[in-house]
Every structure is written in structure tokens, then in C-alpha cells.
Symmetry: C2
Subunit: 227 residues, 2 copies
């Protein structure tokens, strides 16, 4: 067991070193990076498709897609008009800093304003791995039920923003907006909760407002640190 | 890396040994065990609540609940009238054979007909861990999208039965039943796909039929092996 713990510490230290390297590269290139995590099917890809359509003319966007298998999501993102690199993890339950570093070879980072990392659909494992991102976004959705924040607290606890997708299905489920907000705020009192529907478009504008504002905030912070 | 692989092999071997011990205990006790896995919020607990209500007078049922945090699901199952033991994994992304062995101390196995193990909501990690169960069930749901079998093939590949829940939401989503069936059958041509809605009750009867039939099939096989 002592051997196992030592080994885990070594692996974690290497992962943290690579995450720091990623963070430095992102800051040098002046690109804002957001890491999206959620249950399978909560709507990360659909949110990024909408983002590409609505923000693609204003900001230079790109996406790194993480999935166990298939390039379906990458093809959807590319069809929405922005560059995308697919990573297939095989059985891996999250993206790793090493995989992101390797994928960066495909991008001209300096030519980007925003890079979205769509993690593997999994509300548990991705939360434990820093990918050098500036912001973490958890996407939840109404059919999953309002209790996900208390049942999967680690992901929500490490998030900077919660997107609640599929509010068009509210009436068809027993989801309580009041309970969901209370559970999220119980973990992180000041976190923004963006309630929207990628399907109908309702509320998506506030997500774009958040992306623009966070990108500006990060750029200002990086500029201050460089002085 | 060689050290890491050796260590992983040792951990896997121990897990397999415990799974075999569980399987032997289940067979000696004559209890049918099904391991349920799904994305967060696909409806495993609701399916088990319905099962408790509809089958609880006919068969002696019990449930082991796996969650990162809270005893919410165990309380729901107990409220539906059957014994339930909650396991909290902390950050763990799946239930382990060791956790199941420990939980069995709370049950009189010989007094049970069916034990359901509700795994942690995660379509990736639980698929890799044998808990000594007789059957594996993947619960999928229409709002997650019809592409989950191809994007998370390992869970579906190891399943003995696929439950497609929330068919009452079909009209409100762009889910294609035809595509979903094709994807599942592409991985496992003969696997049953039980399309139902725990919310409306539609189709739940075929799940009860499956549980009864599989329990009988397993009991017959165990009896043959003992002769």
C-alpha cells in the first residue's frame, strides 16, 4: 500500500507539472481556456455548437473534444464552423494534461481567443484533473434531476460556472429549480448558474456574456502579472 | 512504467479474487444479483423504486446503493418498502468488490431472492469492475441522446440488458429509437432493449418479466453446476 501511495503521488506530481506547463502556454498565447464537464448527454457539444454559431464571427474559437470513442462530436463542432481536435481516450474516464499538450500541436494557439476543452462525459473523474484551464464549467441538465450537486459535489465544488441546460424540459420532469439553486449555492455561494436551453435558444445569450466577461477578466489578470 | 503495470496487475488480481468470492456467496445463498450502471440521472433509483413497489410482494428484494455522497437514494428505496444499504465512495467513481463484501454484513443473503446493486452514476468506470453479479444492466435515457452506445461502448458491450428509460420524453427530444437500437445491436446483436418510462409506468412490466426470467435461468444454472 505504501508503494501504491508513493506511485500515485508521483503520477499526480507529473500531472500537476504538465498542467502548469499548459497554463503557462495558454497565458503566453493570450488564449482563454474553459474546461467543460458533465454527465453523458447533458449537452456540452450542443452548447459549443451554439457558441460557435453565435460567437464564431466575433472571437476566434477552437475546441478539443474528449470521448472514449468516435469522432462524432468533433464532426459536429467542425460543421458549426470552428476548428476542433478529437481525442479518443479508449477506456479513459477523463482527459489528461498530457493529452491536451499533444493536441495543442494541431492549433496555432496565438491565433485563438478562446479554447474550449470538452471533457469526457463523466461527473466524477474529470473534476480531479487540472488541464491548465482558466475556468471550469459544469453543465447539468433538468432530466438528470435536481439533486446532482449534492450527489456529485466534487465536480460542482471545483466549478466556476454552472450551466443548467434543457430548461425547455422543466415541465416534463419533476426538477425543482429552487432545490437545484439551493444545492449549488450550498456548495459555492457566489457561483453563477446559467439556466438555458440549447434546443430553444432560451437563455443562451447569458452564457455568451459570461464567456466574454471571463475572457476579459483573465486577460487583464495575465497582463497585470506580466508587468 | 513497468512498476506501475505490475502494481495495477496486482490490484486487478485482488479485485477479481474478491469478485469470485462474492459470486460464490451469491450462488450458495441462492440470490440473483443484478448490477445496474448508467449516467447520473438516467433513472436507476426510480427503476428500483418501481421494482420494489411492483415486485416486493412476490420476491424478497434488497438493494445496495452506490453514491459519492448522501444517503438520498437509500432513503428513497427504503421508503418504497425494501431493505437498502448505502455505500458512499467519497471521490470513488465506481463500487468495488471489497465495498460489496463489507456491505453484505448487513443482509441475510439466504433470506433474499434478488439483490440489486445500483452502481455510482458513471457510464465509464463501473464497467471495468466485476462485483460477482449474475447480470449487468445499463440504464440509458432518451434526453441523453441516442449516440451513447457508440460513445460509451465498454459499458454497453459488457451489459446483459439495456433499459431505455424516459420514453415519455421522446417527443420532446431529437432521440431516434431506430438509431439507438441499431447502435446497441451493433455492439451486442442479441441483447434485450427494454424501452420504458418509470415516470408513466409504460413498459415497466417487461423489466419485471426480464428480472423473473433471468432469476430463474440463473437458479437453474447454479443447480446444474451443484449436481
Amino acid at each position: 500500500m505504501a508503494k501504491r501511495i508513493r506511485l500515485e503521488k508521483r503520477v499526480v506530481a507529473e500531472s500537476d507539472r504538465l498542467a502548469k506547463e499548459l497554463s503557462d502556454r495558454f497565458n503566453r498565447a493570450g488564449v482563454f481556456v474553459a474546461n467543460l464537464m458533465s454527465s453523458p448527454g447533458a449537452g456540452k457539444t450542443t452548447l459549443l455548437e451554439e457558441t460557435a454559431r453565435r460567437l464564431g464571427a466575433e472571437l476566434r474559437l477552437a475546441v478539443i473534444e474528449g470521448d472514449l470513442a468516435t469522432d462524432r462530436d468533433a464532426r459536429r463542432i467542425q460543421a458549426a464552423g470552428i476548428p476542433c481536435r478529437q481525442i479518443n481516450t479508449g477506456g479513459g474516464c477523463h482527459l489528461s494534461a498530457r493529452q491536451i499538450l499533444d493536441a495543442l500541436a494541431d492549433f496555432d494557439l496565438g491565433g485563438l481567443d478562446v479554447l474550449f476543452i470538452e471533457n469526457v462525459g463523466n461527473l466524477v473523474c474529470p473534476a480531479e484533473f487540472d488541464l491548465g484551464e482558466h475556468r471550469r464549467v459544469v453543465v447539468s441538465s433538468t432530466p438528470e434531476g435536481d439533486d446532482k450537486p449534492v450527489k456529485y459535489p466534487i465536480a460542482f465544488h471545483h466549478a466556476d460556472c454552472v450551466v443548467l441546460n434543457k430548461i425547455d424540459l422543466l415541465a416534463a420532469t419533476n426538477f425543482s429549480l429552487e432545490a437545484f439553486r439551493r444545492y449549488v449555492k450550498g456548495l459555492k455561494p457566489r457561483i453563477p448558474i446559467l439556466e438555458l436551453s440549447c434546443r430553444t435558444g432560451e437563455g443562451v445569450e447569458q452564457w455568451l456574456v459570461w464567456v466574454r466577461a471571463e475572457r476579459r477578466a483573465v486577460a487583464a489578470k495575465v497582463a497585470r502579472a506580466a508587468r
